[in-house]
Amino acid sequence: MGYFTSFFVRLAYFIEASSRYHRVKEFCRTLLEYQHSRLKFYFDIFMVVLVVISVLFLLYEVKHPDGHPYLDAFVQFSLIVFIIEYLLRFWIYSDSHKLFLERYDYAINNNLPFSLGHTLWAILKKKVEYIISPLAIIDLLAILPSYRPLRFLRIFLLFRIFKLFRYARSMKTFTAIITEKKFELFTLAIFASFVIFTGSSAIYIFETHQNPKINTLFDAVYWAIVTMGTVGYGDIVPVTTEGMVVAMILIILGVATLAFLTSIIVSSFQNKLIELKESRLFSEVDKLENYIVICGYGRVGEVVAKMLHEDGYKLVIIDNDDEKIKLAQQRGLIGIVADASKSRILGELGVGKRASQIICATNSDELNVFITLTARSLSKQIIIIARVIKNTHKRKYFLAGANYAFSADETIGLMGAQYITQPISYTALDEMLTENTGVIFDMLPIHEHAYFVGQPLEALELKEKRLMLFGILRKEATPSFQFNPSPNFILQMHDILIIMGRKHHINVLRKQNDKGVMR
């Protein structure tokens, strides 16, 4: 191994091991590249302001060639920022040391000769790739003309405006459209150049000697383009019959070409618009914390979403039917048209990170189980609630990792059967479950400073308060639920009372509980 090689290898390993290097690079990436980072958002705004002001100054200079001392300082400052930005982007574009080590390890592990030259060449190629990328060229052109000897390139300072492409996402969409429709635009461009070429040569041949305004081929091309673009300034007009015929043909072809161009851009813009909206929704979801993902906005999803929304829970709804999503959006919910069975979608929606619960409420068992499994693989903590369609599949949901799974049919079976044998108790059950009459089940946690800690149940005077104690939940005890405990049952911290009664009666008890420790 040569001296240089060993030097580079040691350098690469040193960089790889340096945590500060990684930290700094990561920070720069958050600042410049990561789509959803706050930092980048502020940086982008800062840069946009800088660009706009420096261009305005450029315009100011047109009439005031001597400049202005403050503004000069500002120009220097913005130039420095641009240069630093350019260099940072150059730096973070690729990890040279990684590339180096990869190749080096590969050579060592496979007993192959390691070529320093080739490796450095590969690294260089990667960096050059950055330099010749369109956005980097714009960046460079925005900087270079400030260098005195290159003063003649002043006009390129206007390229700073193009720098805005980097910072505004909607601008990027426009570039994306153009790249996407490359083929169509290319075909059209060829056609247009053909027409322009023919038209300008024709007018040149027919009118050079008859028309004093057409002296060079450039005049002819200028005339052809102005005519074809349906602008027709009228500074050059054909004077011969042949010239007029050429003009007429050019105008018709020009209109057709423009129509074509417009339709290409509009149609692709419309497609892009949907994506754009979606990405906006995704970024909206990114801002949420502790939200509930509802897969499937059918009737179950609708009922759940409505009730949770009214209670102020944060919801994200996905369904692959855009009609349903439209409905959800009209109701002020965040709805995304997506296939919930794709794990990428769930990941992007923050399942496994910021979502706290996921509800599988589609009308297919396969899909529900699949979503359950996907969600569980993304997160161990997330609470998964699944709706079972066919009761025989219930076990599979628990195998897939659902916290709760139940089928409506089972409840219907129970209630239906109860209706026959015990109609009154059915009514009671129905009212308890639907809470239509205002009598609700509620829980009252006994927190550390609660008034009721250490008190026997009698002291709560539940009956006088028109409440009924269903039972007490004590997490550490087994069984954890004690049904109808006796009046001398002593309450402890962290017990949870399950109470039935009217809401305002329960609130009276809650207030008393929160009053604090007894004297």
């Binding site: 509930i292 139940f406 089928s407 079976g413 239906g416 308890m432 009924m468 009217r502």
Partner: protein
């Protein structure tokens, strides 16, 4: 066939669930559907399935509607069939209890007009349950474990008989939970129109025979209570 008092129209998943519960309670019932391909499935489950055209009034009459049929379930997956059947049956018999299931929100109202005695809405039930699971998971777990579930805590209704010791007592005097490990949820007073009154409403009722108490508790405790008060 005629002695069957419970008819289940529509051999759907709900029908299977209800059937299974009825079977467990030893009640006889008949399932009715028009799709003959369901026969093997019914046979496997041990259900009696009659394949017939239920849209015909004569068929309904021959099934015993208007005579000895007391309960009818309409459990089709299509609301159109449920509404139509409910209407046909109600037209033939004004007393029969019709339990309908529904699949869309709009159909609830239609079924009410058509004359269904009670409407089970699986989506509403399911949605409500998910909502409860999220807002108050502990409560739902308790309800699931007790009323719906595995633990031996049941909900039962007790009709007060004429010779019971409870007959003529005020509700406050017979609060049964003190001596029995069970809860009195509420009651149905046959003199009052309202079907069910929760105990927490605080009315002090005078119990008469024919009133119905709804209690929750261990089956053994409820049995003991019934015995003690000769109910």
């Amino acid at each position: 066939m005629r002695e069957s008092k419970i008819l289940l129209f529509g051999f759907s998943r709900s029908a299977i669930e209800i059937g299974a519960r009825l079977q467990a309670q030893g009640l006889a019932f008949t399932c009715i559907d028009s799709d003959a391909s369901l026969l093997p499935k019914a046979k496997k489950l041990g259900f009696e399935l009659l394949i017939t055209d239920y849209s015909d009034d004569d068929t309904l009459l021959s099934l015993g509607i208007g005579e000895d049929v007391r309960f009818v379930f309409t459990l089709f997956d299509e609301d159109v069939q449920n509404v139509f059947l409910t209407l046909s049956i109600r037209a033939l018999d004004s007393k029969v209890q019709i339990v309908s299931t529904t699949h869309t929100k709009d159909a609830i109202h239609k079924l009410e007009i058509a004359g269904a005695s009670t409407i089970l809405d699986p989506y509403q039930i399911c949605g409500k349950r998910i909502y409860k699971l999220i807002t108050q998971p502990e409560i739902m777990q308790v309800i699931d474990a007790t009323i719906f579930g595995e633990e031996d805590i049941n909900m039962e209704q007790i009709t007060i008989t004429a010779h019971s010791a409870l007959n003529g007592l005020l509700l406050n005097e017979c609060y049964p939970t003190e001596k029995y490990n069970m809860l009195l949820i509420g009651l149905h007073d046959k003199e009052l129109k309202k079907e069910f009154i929760f105990i927490t409403e605080g009315h002090n009722h005078k119990l008469d025979h024919g009133d119905i108490l709804v209690v929750i508790g261990k089956s053994a405790e409820i049995e003991r209570f019934k015995m003690d008060f000769s109910l």
